[in-house]
């Protein structure tokens, strides 16, 4: 049976690609449901309240119900909005996330597209997110959205640089641009996080990741007390859902990427590899959420100063350190 299916898909590679695309896209849509539910429960735990309880057992279907509600809502486009960009922005954000998942190995062989320059591809594709935010902020014809969009672009671009530099440190250290290659290196030599230059790189990556996914203390682009809701103020219904989903899927992705780069990806004893991947991801997501609900947010100038005056020089120095140690 399985052989027959395998053979069928080997004969029809286009069909197989289609199946993979559908699975990936639905994964990107479904994973936010889980992450949002976890986030609500953790927020409840931190704020000494219960979180969702009523829809489904322990409120597990709450996010699904919310997603359904968003689907049924009226689609409102503000007057004077640049319609083409306004329509397109959420889907670009979503697609950029799906593309990132495309090259991410969940377990040995569990990767939609084995790419030997996966790291480069991810860095490039994730930048589309910035474009979509700027598009949303600009096309909404709303001053709050515009301010939010500008803030987002300034912040994301500033933090992209130290992030790329810290990822590059891993690349030089392991000598591979392929995620599978990086993980296999770690299976052989131990997790990257235990090696000094990568330790610093991981720390920088962690800070930048917080900024990249707009989490407190870097959640300025959607600071609701200042900018109503930032770049997505004017979005409602399904379009808003796509922004929201891509944000939480990004949250998942950026931790999965970190797991692959620093924590050995699927590597771990006893449990099957796929479980290890998810375990590592959710532990990191928990830390992110913990931070999300504890400190206040920074101001834009403080954030930019932090990126350019501290993170960029440190990550540059660290990169040299990694090259010196890593090149064999």
């Amino acid at each position: 049976m399985i052989e027959a299916i395998t053979q069928f898909f080997t004969q029809h590679p286009l069909l197989w690609a289609f199946v993979k695309a559908v699975v990936l896209a639905s994964f990107t849509l479904v994973i936010p449901l889980a992450v949002i539910y976890v986030e609500r429960k953790i927020a409840g735990f931190i704020q000494s309240r219960l979180g969702p309880l009523h829809v489904g057992p322990q409120g597990t279907f709450q996010t699904a119900a919310d997603a359904l509600k968003l689907l049924l809502k009226e689609d409102i486009v503000p007057e004077g909005a640049d319609k083409r960009f306004f329509y397109l922005a959420p889907y670009i954000a979503f697609v950029s996330t799906v593309l990132c998942f495309m090259v991410l190995p969940f377990a040995p062989g569990w990767v939609a597209l084995e790419m030997n320059v996966a790291v480069l591809f991810i860095i490039g594709v994730s930048l589309f997110n910035v474009v979509s935010i700027l598009m949303a902020g600009w096309s909404s014809n709303n001053k709050y959205s515009l301010l939010g969009g500008l803030r987002a672009v300034a912040q994301l671009l500033s933090y992209e640089i130290p992030m790329v530099l810290s990822v590059l440190a891993v690349v030089f250290y392991t000598g591979s641009l392929s995620l599978t290659g990086i993980i296999e290196y770690q299976v052989k030599h131990g997790w990257n996080i235990w090696h000094p230059p990568i330790m610093i790189a991981a720390l920088i990556y962690f800070i930048c990741a917080l900024a990249e996914i707009n989490r407190t203390p870097f959640d300025l682009p959607e600071a609701e007390s200042e900018l109503v809701s930032g770049f997505n103020t004017e979005y409602s219904g399904m379009r808003f859902a796509f922004f929201f989903a891509s944000e939480f899927a990004n949250n998942f992705f950026i931790t999965a990427f970190a797991a692959a780069l620093f924590f050995g990806g699927w590597d771990g004893p006893v449990l099957p590899p796929i479980v290890w991947t998810f375990l590592k991801v959710f532990v990191m997501i928990f830390v992110f959420m913990w931070l999300r609900w504890t400190p206040p947010r920074l101001r834009i100038d403080q954030i930019l100063r932090f990126a350019w005056q501290l993170l960029v020089p440190v990550s540059l120095a660290n990169l040299l350190f990694a090259i010196a140690l890593g090149v064999r």
Binding site: Q47, E224, S225, W293, T294, P296, R297, I300
Partner: protein, 359 residues
């Protein structure tokens, strides 16, 4: 770029509208627009007998309704020369301080949310709920208490109330430590508040700021000390004063006032004598002609009432000096050159209540 913040905006604390002129993230000018909650309370008071006006005052500063009740009652008492029994005075002070805690907790919670620390909001409101439960047990209401009367308070404290308050005081001392851990010692919180929205001492004096805003600018001015009313001269407490005049100092003043309020509450409960809580007054209360002025230290600052009597059953003129109104007037000056993100921090730290600004 001109941007319109309010009257419906997540962080304007009521229906305040600010017209901001921006250059990117920089605020060039700010024009506050008030009046969205105007009800003409002062005029309405002139059409009603003195004691019918007390419920109106609940709607002034709705986060500290009891302070407003007390202010108008003191004014009427001065006008009519009414004596207040000692026990009633103690009960008044006890409730005022509970009210101050409740009000400062709202400040703390909303201020945290303004800066992005949403958890602070739930923590502060968890404790505020306890204060409200206490006040509800005593007064029967949670927000608009209407519980101070001319010549005392309507009823004695419920049985076992003192012990419940002491339990709360004990618990709340620990909870303040928790707030300190969550906010006061947080570096991000400090970097968002220190050196922001500085009101120099001269400016605070020139604008007539009072309450925590003035005390954060180095002015040791607290009506409870300057012109003690009720039994505030018999209790020991410190007035926290900070010199910096920034958002951080205003936050610290309020945190310290929470602790001082707890001290006052303990002393009041210890010293409270037995006796009547209400002076007998005629059915139709007609104070002699004259002018009376009273002032109390509400959580927001110096709250004053002025009433003019011509010997009839209704006041001829009522004026309310609302601390929020005076404190808000300094806002445009603070916002010049500030960042958009500082707007919410500064506005939150002044802690205005639109109910008493618009009256």
């Amino acid at each position: 770029m001109v941007i319109n913040v309010g009257p419906q905006h997540p962080s304007t604390h009521g229906v305040l509208r600010l017209i901001l002129t921006l250059d990117g993230e920089q605020i060039l000018a700010c024009e506050p627009v008030i009046g969205y909650l105007h009800r003409g309370l002062e005029k309405m008071m002139e059409r009603r007998p003195y004691r019918h006006n007390i419920p109106f005052t609940d709607r002034l500063d709705y986060l500290a309704a009891l302070s407003n009740n007390l202010a108008i009652c003191q004014c009427i008492e001065r006008l009519g020369g009414v004596e207040v029994p000692e026990r009633a005075q103690y009960i008044r002070v006890l409730l005022m301080e509970l009210q101050r805690i409740a009000s400062h907790l709202v400040f703390l919670g909303t201020f945290g949310t303004d800066l992005g620390a949403t958890t602070m909001f739930l923590y502060a409101f968890r404790e505020r709920e306890m204060v409200l439960d206490l006040l509800e047990e005593c007064t029967g209401a949670r927000l608009t208490y209407n519980w101070v009367r001319v010549g005392g308070v309507p009823d004695d404290l419920p049985e076992g109330f003192g012990q419940k308050v002491l339990d709360f005081v004990k618990l709340f001392r620990q909870r303040i430590e928790e707030y300190d851990m969550l906010l006061t010692r947080n570096r991000i919180f400090r970097s968002r508040t220190q050196g922001i929205g500085v009101i120099p001492k001269e400016t605070a004096l020139a604008y007539g700021c009072s309450g925590p805003v003035a005390r954060a600018s180095g002015i040791p001015y607290d009506i409870r000390k300057v012109a003690p009313y009720e039994v505030y001269n018999r209790v020991e407490f410190d007035v926290p004063v900070f010199e910096d005049g920034d958002v951080w100092a205003r936050y610290l003043v309020r945190m310290e006032e929470l602790r001082q309020s707890l001290r006052i509450i303990e002393q009041v409960l210890r010293d409270m004598p037995d006796g009547p809580v209400q002076t007998k007054l005629p059915k139709i209360f007609k104070p002699p002609a004259g002018i009376a002025y009273s002032r109390v230290e509400s959580p927001r600052g110096e709250l004053s009432f002025m009433m003019v009597s011509d010997g009839g059953a209704n006041p001829v003129r009522v004026h309310i000096r609302a601390p929020s109104f005076v404190n808000l007037s300094v806002l445009p000056r603070l916002l010049e050159g500030a960042k958009v993100a500082d707007l919410v921090a500064i506005l939150g730290s002044i802690d205005v209540v639109l109910g008493e600004i618009d009256r």
